[in-house]
């Protein structure tokens, strides 16, 4: 546990206590804004703040310097109160260059703190590339904000005078200078970041030393300069006692896979092909070979899922990960999994589509692809986590379903969950129910498609088991023997059995929790996936204002929970915000024949709390006028 201590005595300067601060760091994609943001996050997390983050970066690794499309941002919301989202509007904007200012200024609160690196604005071509005719720092264009203009580049250079580092290396260190300054302003300790620098730059001691130096220099600058009249504190949030850590969705997903492997007693086989924003799951899992994890980076998306299916046939716990374009490629193999009824979890970290779309931006537009994107009647199970840490629990749930029902199961994460982070009350392995798998051993009466009468799952006999040699494939199978069958009535029966098996998963689901007025009322917001935070915060705010609105969040998309229909009918209106054109709405309307309303946003960005709140007002007004 780290304690917040500054290394030098602070000048007497007033300190204001705030409940909540939203900071956005922005700069060129090579400026290290993601590191800066995640360091501030980790430090704030350890201080006990509740928080949520939103990294937002371009698809290009190093877009041309100084251009608006090369701007990378990292927003975090840290608070002494419960936090549901990374915040609608930053209170503080850090802009390392004109392009970053251009892209982000409109989001900054009027009167908010704006910290700019004025050295980057002295360069006219920088201004030009960002689309400024005149230097906005001097033109008065920033008068609506509390603008603090600092020569960050020069300060960094001065701190590293005589270091022997190249201009480029010196220039790269300026993000740590900025971080140091912000640490001073918000009373954050330097220790965690100093430790991070030591570990990250272990092979390059001169770079490590430079970064340590400028971090402290930035901090000291805040201390001695006259630019800031006060500093701020944000007290720890009141959280349930226990051990906490900060976690991103992709890390929680990978850890969920490792845990599920242990809980099932099967070794994890992970077949994957790199794709944004899912690759971090592959990176993370490849570190855990000692848990018996096999990671296979295949030649393509198809081979990744096919190898997973081969491993599943052989008795491993098989997982594949991808994003929407990869799901399209994997569809035929997933359908083989449906037909041969082998367990498989497919991680889809959704991103903006169609086609290559918006690789680094978030969207929820693969729901119908997961539901229906295969030939024939081909039911799969689908679950979706609601927050970054929920990825852990929901991955375990996806695994349990896949293994118990012998069915491919989609895990629909998205870019916002994948890269976003939040503090997580770390669970213990013993909190979870185990679901140990037993393979078929008994030869008497065996055939590969003999089913459990309750779950309808077929028995799983794996190569190496004497006497159970059998053949399976994508051709239709006879219900009674598992042999190839083209019989019309048998086919109809098998189509229905595969559907019935998926439908029966609903018997395992706990009753849904309705936030607000579970007994019914005017407006019910139904959400799924990463919209949870914005919907819950908006619903809470609206209820505090006396509005009759409730929220139910669906984590099982197929089959849908059995109590959902009754819940929906208790409200005068159902509204479903989605980062797509209304995919869950389509499913809900079709299944329950209710007039659910869609609230669609497809901008590659998550919903703001304020957007949902306006929509609540709109729906309530519409109801009132009827």
């Amino acid at each position: 546990m780290t304690t917040p201590v500054a290394e030098t005595p602070r000048l007497p300067r007033p300190t204001e206590e705030l409940d909540q601060v939203v900071i956005r760091f922005s700069g060129d994609s090579g400026d290290g804004m993601q590191i800066t943001g995640s360091q501030f996050t980790n430090t704030s997390a350890v201080l006990g703040n509740d928080l949520a983050t939103f990294p937002d970066f371009p698809a290009e690794i190093r877009a041309p310097t100084g251009t608006t499309f090369g701007v990378s941002g990292f927003q975090l919301n840290f608070s002494s109160k419960p936090v549901f989202t990374p915040g609608d509007q930053p209170d503080v904007l850090v802009a390392m260059n004109p392009a970053a200012l251009k892209v982000n200024l409109a989001d900054l609160k009027v009167g908010g703190l704006l910290i700019v690196n004025k050295d980057a604005f002295a360069n006219s071509s920088n201004l030009e590339r960002a689309g400024y005719n005149a230097n906005p720092i001097e033109s008065g264009a920033l008068s609506a904000y509390h603008t603090v203009s600092i020569d960050i580049s020069q300060q960094t250079e001065r701190a590293l005078e005589g270091s022997g580092l190249s201009f480029k290396e010196v220039s790269r260190a300026k993000n740590f200078w900025t971080l140091g300054l912000l640490y001073y302003l918000y009373h954050r300790p330097l220790e965690l970041t100093l430790k991070f620098i030591d570990e990250k730059f272990v092979g390059v001691p001169e770079i490590a030393e430079a970064n340590r130096k400028v971090l402290k220099a930035g901090y000291m600058y805040g201390e001695v300069s006259e630019l800031f009249h006060e500093t701020y504190t944000v007290k720890p949030a009141t959280l349930k006692p226990g051990t906490y850590r900060n976690i991103t969705g992709n890390q929680a997903t990978a850890w969920g896979a490792i845990a599920a492997s242990r809980f099932s007693g099967l070794p994890l086989f992970f077949g994957s092909y790199p794709i944004t924003p899912a690759s971090d799951v592959l990176h993370e899992l490849s570190k855990y070979k000692n848990f018996g994890v096999t990671t296979f980076q295949a030649e393509d998306e198809i081979a990744a899922v096919c190898a997973a299916i081969g491993a599943s046939f052989t008795g491993a716990f098989a997982v594949t990960s991808t994003s929407g374009p990869g799901v399209a490629l994997k569809s035929e193999a997933i359908n083989l999994g449906v037909s041969v009824e082998l367990p498989l979890v497919i991680i889809d970290v959704q991103r903006g589509g169609p086609s290559t779309g918006l690789p680094t931006k978030t969207e929820q537009a693969d729901l119908l692809q997961a539901m229906f994107g295969r030939n024939g009647d081909s039911p799969v199970a689908i679950v979706a986590p609601a927050t970054p840490s929920d990825c852990f629990d929901m991955f375990i749930e996806a695994s349990r379903i896949a293994l118990k029902y012998m069915v491919p199961t989609f895990f629909l994460s998205d870019g916002y969950l994948a890269n976003g982070s939040e503090p997580w009350h770390v669970p213990s392995a013993s909190d979870y129910e185990k679901f140990e798998v037993s393979f078929q051993k008994e030869t008497e009466g065996f055939h590969p498609f003999r089913r459990d009468p309750d779950t309808l799952a077929r028995n799983w006999a794996i190569p190496g088991t004497p006497g159970l040699e059998h053949r399976i494939g994508g051709l239709e199978k006879d219900f009674g023997s598992g042999n190839i069958s083209y019989d019309p009535m048998n086919h109809e029966k098998m189509v229905h059995v595969r559907q019935a098996k998926v439908d029966r998963i609903a018997a395992d689901l706990k009753p849904l929790e309705v936030f607000g007025s579970p007994q019914g009322g005017k407006l019910l917001i139904v959400g799924w996936g990463s919209t949870y935070g914005a919907i819950r915060a908006a619903t809470q705010n609206a209820r505090e204002q006396g509005k009759d609105v409730s929220h139910v969040h669906i984590r099982h998309l197929n089959p849908l929970p059995r109590d959902l229909g009754d819940i929906l009918r208790r409200y005068e209106r159902v509204m479903i915000p989605e980062m797509n054109m209304g995919q869950l709405v389509m499913m809900i309307r079709a299944k329950y024949l209710i007039d659910a309303r869609s609230y669609s946003k497809v901008q590659g960005k998550p919903f703001k709390v304020s957007e949902i709140m306006s929509r609540i007002d709109h729906e309530l007004a519409d109801l009132g006028s009827k």
Binding site: G48, G310, A311, T314
Partner: protein, 342 residues
């Protein structure tokens, strides 16, 4: 009742037959290959529950249904990837893959390339009939240039692929060719393939008597095959023809162009190339020998040892285990920065 598996040395051809009616066209070359494989399998001494046949889509890919082992009839072109998953999940299994010229070289070209590159210990039998049979007679990637088929009434305009050259280019560690009707030769090649540790690629020339009958006639016809087939044997000169009176020697400007010599007429046995299955360059060179200018080589082109993929993968897992233990979920969840709220 639990059936007790028979001691493996008592397995017979019959043990590897299934109760499924074989559904290839009467007269198909696949029957001969199936019979040869079923006859050969007991000689491996591997219990049949430890054998897995994986296939893709096509006539040849029905093969697993007729082998009384574990079997997986997968999707078009993807058998190499599925088989890789099988072998990685349980390296103790004997994994065999059955494919055709369309399945392996057209839709599945990418996967088989990477299978061979990685050297996963899988035995690949690729039946080459130079035609698409199951879709009823379109040309394949190995069909000869100009071939008239249902989809090419004016003849093909795309150059065919040489499967052996392709396998060598993909770094396969074992590359061989045999013929459906040469049961003895086929069994001897299968035996060497089974003994090989790594990917073994076997092209089996196979007759489709319905859509491409006679594709390999000059090679299988008793009257001509002495002159049209070159039987490769490691360490032996590349002689062919009646009474082995012909041979392959190197000629041309750089002594890198194969030529046919007639022993005692325009050359001697000393001039003839000696086959060396460890020589990748030589293997590629002779893979280019094609009808009608040269005899078709059959036998083992290349057989070299290099580490297998699954061995490498499991060695890393074992090394990680030895270094860090079997792993603890609670410790993992608490690794890195954590803090405590009292």
């Amino acid at each position: 009742m639990v059936t007790i598996p028979k001691p493996t040395n008592l397995l017979t051809k019959k043990d590897f037959q299934t109760d499924q009616e074989v559904r290839w066209c009467p007269g198909c070359g696949d029957y001969a290959i199936l019979a040869a494989v079923q006859k050969f399998m007991p000689t491996l001494g591997i219990p049949k529950e430890k054998i897995v046949f994986v296939s893709g889509i096509g006539c040849s890919s029905r093969f697993p249904y007729y082998m009384n082992t574990y079997g997986f009839h997968t999707i078009h072109g993807r058998a190499p990837a599925v088989a890789t998953g099988v072998k990685l999940a349980n390296p103790e299994l004997s994994v065999w893959m059955v494919s055709g010229d369309g399945d392996a070289l057209s839709i599945g070209g990418n996967h088989i390339l990477h299978l061979m590159r990685r050297n996963v210990d899988i035995k690949v039998m690729m039946f080459n009939n130079r035609i698409y049979g199951l879709t009823k007679g379109q040309y394949s990637p190995t069909s000869e240039l100009g071939k008239k088929t249902k989809s090419t009434p004016m003849g093909t305009v795309d150059h065919p692929l040489n499967p052996i050259s392709f396998a060598l280019g993909a770094e396969a560690s074992f590359v061989a060719r045999s013929v459906d009707v040469e049961a003895k030769h086929l069994e001897s090649v299968l035996e060497k393939a089974a003994q090989h540790k790594g990917t073994a690629f076997i092209e089996i020339l196979q007759n489709c008597n319905v859509f491409n009958d006679g594709a390999w006639d000059t090679i299988t016809d008793k009257a001509t095959k002495a002159d049209t087939v070159l039987r490769l044997e490691h360490g032996k000169p590349m002689l062919f023809g009646k009474d082995l009176k012909k041979g392959i020697k190197m000629g041309g400007l750089n002594r890198l162009t194969p030529e046919i010599v007639e022993i005692g007429v325009n050359g001697s046995v000393e001039d003839v190339l000696v086959h060396d299955q460890n020589d990748n360059g030589l293997a590629f060179l002779i893979s280019r020998l094609e009808r009608p200018n040269f005899p078709m080589p059959i036998g083992i082109f290349k057989s070299v040892e290099r580490p297998t993929y699954e061995t490498g993968v499991h060695a890393q897992i074992n090394a990680a285990r030895a270094k860090r233990g079997a792993g603890d979920i609670d410790a993992m969840l608490r690794s890195g920065e954590t803090w405590t709220v009292a």
